[in-house]
Symmetry: D3
Subunit: 70 residues, 6 copies
């Protein structure tokens, strides 16, 4: 009966979500023999302005990384 919550910044297609759902469910079935019918995978897309890393929101963080890479 596993419950898996995946949080990531937004911009994910339904096809990619389906790959994540299938992959995680398969991993739990193979590793721990968990029943897929009792395996929930919930994906939360988070807006970049709502996700902070290194003390700033992700929009600012990515801009800095890009600038530093030049």
């Amino acid at each position: 009966m596993p419950y898996v919550n995946i949080k990531l910044t937004s911009g994910v297609t339904q096809e990619q979500k389906d790959t994540l759902i299938a992959g995680v469910t398969d991993l739990l079935a193979k590793t721990l023999n968990k029943d897929p019918e009792k395996t929930f995978v919930v994906i939360d897309e988070v807006q970049p302005g709502d996700w902070g890393v290194a003390g700033v929101n992700t929009t600012v963080y990515r801009r800095r990384k890009k600038a530093a890479a030049k």
Copy 2:
């Protein structure tokens, strides 16, 4: 001081949410004598495409169930 988080697939009316909030708060007050003023209930509606079960998203899952029921 309980904190309760209810995650379910979207399509819930405000009236139904109010029933859940009242019911859970009442249950915690009666069972554990928890103060309603310190009881938080947060409801997250999740799009069917973001909720996986049995290795597929809920839209696909429900379609399959319906087809199997015929």
Copy 3:
């Protein structure tokens, strides 16, 4: 397919947990016609030192409340 997470400070008996699990599952079945077989309720007991309210941990908070009630 609801997933419910209840967080509360520790000191809950198994009987009380069972009452919470049964009550929440029943509430979701009656209010939203949710299948109990697909309803997960996860209870997290949190040590008082790990739960903060009003800027202090729960042990300190309760001591203050008691002192103020005298």
Copy 4:
């Protein structure tokens, strides 16, 4: 490698979110020497109708508080 999730009722500006992200990251760096590059802060704005307290949703709760304050 801390992960911090802040849930609050909606109506928060990006500037306020940035203050929260910077403040929490700084607090963890100063208190526990946590690396900001490995500190995630995720903010969830919750609609007032989805947040319950005292057995009612926040819209109703605030209306009552205002009425009681008169």
Copy 5:
């Protein structure tokens, strides 16, 4: 910068946990090009008495399933 939380009933070895951590991280890298250095996977083992399904705790639920299978 994904954050993944896996909740499952207790009884998982460190080797199985390591397989889950590696598998989920790899899945996110391949599907969404996510940087493993910024991918957190947190596993919560939940005692059977704290996890409810079908209105009862997991210990009771498994006993019933076994009895029904006879």
Copy 6:
């Protein structure tokens, strides 16, 4: 009515937890005028074997970092 959940690897003293609780509550009061009496801060200490980063658990990750730093 904010709810804040801080997850970090274990090894945190009560004094450090108290500093986090006070700091986060203060930050929310100053930034968003949130009532401390309605601000919950829940700290989860996670065993290093249960926290993955870069595809390995934290014990392995830290050992590698140390070895690389030599």
